[in-house]
């Protein structure tokens, strides 16, 4: 079997995506930007769900927190520098994940799912009910962050193609970072914990510390996505840390195929584009009004019949093809 091609595939995809602004107009570039941001978000969750065996149902908390961090750090009508605001937002998320992680990691199974949800809801209501972040109305980020080196502007994020490239670069970086991390002894230990936590403990691994590290890293990466999402539309409101958002990203991870990383990217494409297509009145006319019905049924079908997600489907067909060639 020749799987060398698989090593180059990510680079090929990233390269093709980088060329996209040369051929397409603004709207679809924005849509693709959204897909890439969701891909980062989903990969961060995949680290927890697919590799550490922790099903978080409150991952939007970190996504939203980074968005709010940017909105609150940015003076209303002045640009902030990306160089410090992005690390600061991500740092805040990491810190929050570290603190909540210490608490939520005391629980397991259903309780873990519910407790992560509870912490996200807590944050939701803090932003929803108090004036800190503009209450339920949210706040606007009127000016996008700057990327300057000295006096030289490296990229102008007001231009959507520049922003698109930034997001693409960060998506690629997240992918490569996670691939590296998961291939390390740390990553192997995480998977070991997912497969058999008890054994890991008996082998002498401080399981809690590994889980906490994974939880923190995951929160930080979700922060990158949240920061970018806030920049893209220049607006944050409590909706971005609602449980619907947590549900959506979980859906992306599973749809794509958890525990594969690239599955999260596939899932983000499928999910965002599916939403876009189903709600397109040009294609579905009046039925588009009820697009969520089709989405709901689709989600249920995935849960029932596609537990390995689209990545699993790909692998299966890949295996089939491989089997056929060896048969000949």
């Amino acid at each position: 079997m020749n799987f060398r091609a698989a090593d180059y595939l990510p680079w090929l995809v990233i390269g093709l995506l980088a060329l996209f602004p040369l051929v397409e107009s603004t709207f679809y570039m924005q849509l693709l930007t959204k897909v890439l941001i969701m891909a980062i978000f989903a990969m961060s969750l995949d680290l927890l769900v697919g590799y550490t065996g922790l099903v978080s149902f409150g991952h939007a908390a970190y996504f939203g927190l980074a968005g709010y961090a940017l909105a609150l750090m940015a003076p209303q009508y002045e640009a902030v520098s990306l160089w410090w605001s992005l690390p600061a937002a991500v740092g805040i998320c990491a810190l929050f994940a570290l603190v909540t992680g210490v608490l939520v990691l005391r629980t397991r199974g259903i309780y873990f799912i519910m407790v992560t949800l509870a912490f996200a809801q807590m944050l939701f209501f803090i932003f929803h009910d108090t004036k800190i972040g503009g209450g339920s109305d949210g706040i606007y980020i009127y000016v996008k962050p700057t990327m300057k080196s000295g006096e030289v502007e490296l990229a102008n994020l007001e231009k959507i193609e520049h922003f698109y490239w930034l997001v693409l670069a960060l998506m690629a970086a997240t992918f490569l970072l996670l691939r590296r991390v998961l291939g390390s002894t740390f990553g192997r230990a995480l998977v070991g914990i997912k497969v058999n936590e008890h054994r890991m403990r008996a082998l002498g691994f401080p399981v809690f510390r590994y889980q906490l590290a994974s939880f923190t890293l995951s929160g930080a990466l979700a922060g990158i996505a949240g920061y970018l999402a806030a920049v893209q539309y220049g607006f944050v409101n409590p909706e971005i840390l609602s449980w619907h958002q947590s549900g959506a990203v979980l859906m992306i991870v599973i749809l794509g195929g958890m525990g594969t990383l690239y599955g999260s990217v596939i899932g983000a494409f499928a999910f965002v584009l599916l939403q876009e297509i189903l709600s397109n009145q040009a294609w579905f006319g009046a039925a588009a009004k009820h697009w969520q019905l089709a989405l709901g049924i689709f989600i249920m079908l995935v849960a029932l019949y596609l537990p390995q997600g689209l990545a699993g489907l790909l692998r299966q067909s890949g295996r089939k093809a491989a089997a056929e060639t060896t048969d000949e």
């Binding site: 051929v23 397409e24 107009s25 603004t26 709207f27 679809y28 924005q30 959204k34 209501f125 929803h128 009910d129 503009g134 209450g135 339920s136 109305d137 949210g138 606007y140 009127y142 539309y233 220049g234 607006f235 409101n237 909706e239 971005i240 709600s279 397109n280 009145q281 040009a282 294609w283 006319g285 009046a286 009004k289």
Partner: protein, 402 residues
């Protein structure tokens, strides 16, 4: 633009055309089909309104009102036929920038009409300020749109939140009421309505003894009603709309407060909910820029035409949508349909005097209606007009520098 890209764009545009037709069928109007590629290009109007969710009926009423105004002009504005592009905003502020981008960037509309939800309005403001597209807001009363965030291309044909409660101060004073409690949901619209009332009431020497807030969209009022009973104010003033309004009116009655402490509110409290609340709203007094039984010639004609076309009774939202059409017509007529002359359109719209079913109104410097606020009282299933509470009330437009 590349050549092949142009071709694909045209196909999309064509698809959009059929979408618009499908959309209008839903709304109950049938536009003449065909002629997608006319001699003079059609004017592209983007409707960004809620077509699903709690505010669906409002979105439909506004759409109907707007289309009625266009139909009355032979289906044309400034001599140009109209092509509609619709986006359902789902009343979701988080999706607002994205949704409005669909109209502005993907569909390249000339004018944007929308929307109901104040939060979504602010999301639109963000994008439309950058694009400079002419925007007429037929409902959402967010003060900042014609305040701190105002822009030359922003217009509103409805009200500002501040306006809808400001006149109540005078009303209460006239009834000899000196203390009041204000209760609403905790969000910008609620707070702006509270501010509007407080300012008006205190100017008249009244005292707002307590502001009560409930997280949006909760509707468990019992604890706060008990609180009101223990404070014993001379009046209760509130802002709730839709489902929350129904629930509040019923709970207020059930708690025995109705008849003991008079209830006032912004007009949305009793608009479109009277069938559902039964007698719980009877006698409640509100202020709004529209009312039942205005009995003007314009209003009668409008109501008749609307009922005939859509087999529905019009409401304040239909009026606001209708006036959005009228305002746009005034702007386009002045430049003979040449939307490219944006400055000309804006100038004509600024100067327009709209002959509205609610009574004539003009625009303030910040492009918000300067209009009469009516005092209405619920009698049976109607918001009967009691008189004008404030003649030609203008929003203070705080923070607007444009």
């Amino acid at each position: 633009m590349h050549k092949n890209q142009k071709a694909s764009y045209d196909r999309r545009e064509f698809l959009r055309g059929s979408a618009a037709i499908a959309g209008t069928t839903v709304a109950g109007v049938l536009l003449p089909t065909g002629q997608v590629f006319g001699q003079q290009a059609k004017l592209k109007v983007g409707l960004m309104l809620p077509y699903t969710g709690t505010y669906t009926q409002l979105g439909i009423a506004i759409t109907n009102g707007f289309k009625l105004a266009v139909e009355e002009r032979g289906g044309k504005l400034g001599g140009r036929e109209i092509e509609y592009f619709t986006v359902d905003d789902e009343s979701n502020p988080a999706k607002a920038p994205e949704n409005v981008s669909k109209l502005v960037q993907r569909d390249k509309v000339d004018v944007v009409i929308g929307t109901v939800h104040s939060g979504v309005v602010m999301g639109m403001a963000k994008v439309l300020k950058e694009s400079g597209t002419i925007w007429i807001n037929p409902n959402g009363g967010a003060g900042a749109m014609t305040g701190a965030a105002c822009a030359p291309n922003f217009f509103r044909t409805s009200f500002s939140n501040w306006q809808s409660t400001h006149a109540l101060g005078k009303v209460l004073k006239a009834k000899g009421i000196k203390t009041a409690v204000f209760i609403t949901h905790k969000y910008a619209a609620g707070e702006e309505m509270m501010e509007g009332f407080k300012e008006g009431f205190e100017k008249e020497g009244g005292k707002l003894v307590k502001e009560l807030y409930l997280p949006f969209p909760q509707v468990e009022f019992q604890a706060l009603l008990t609180e009101i009973a223990s404070i014993k104010p001379e009046a209760v003033v509130c802002f709730f709309a839709g489902g929350a309004a129904i629930k509040f009116l019923k709970d207020y009655q059930a708690a025995g407060l109705k008849g003991k402490i008079p209830l006032f509110g912004s007009g949305f409290l009793t608009d479109g909910v009277l069938d559902a609340v039964g007698d719980a709203a009877e006698g409640v007094e509100t202020t709004l820029h529209y009312a039942d039984g205005l009995d003007t010639k314009k209003d009668k004609a409008f109501r008749l035409a609307y009922a005939k076309t859509f087999k529905l009774q019009p409401d304040v939202y239909a009026v606001q949508g209708y006036d959005a059409g009228q305002l746009l017509a005034a702007g386009l007529d002045a430049v003979k349909g040449n939307i490219g002359d944006k400055a000309g359109v804006i100038k004509a719209m600024e100067a327009a005097k709209i002959d509205s079913p609610r009574g004539p109104w003009t625009l303030s410097k910040s492009h918000n209606p300067v209009q009469d606020m009516y005092l209405r009282k619920v009698v049976g299933k109607e918001n009967k007009v009691q008189g004008v509470a404030w003649k030609a009330l203008a929003d203070p437009a705080r923070g607007c520098k444009a």
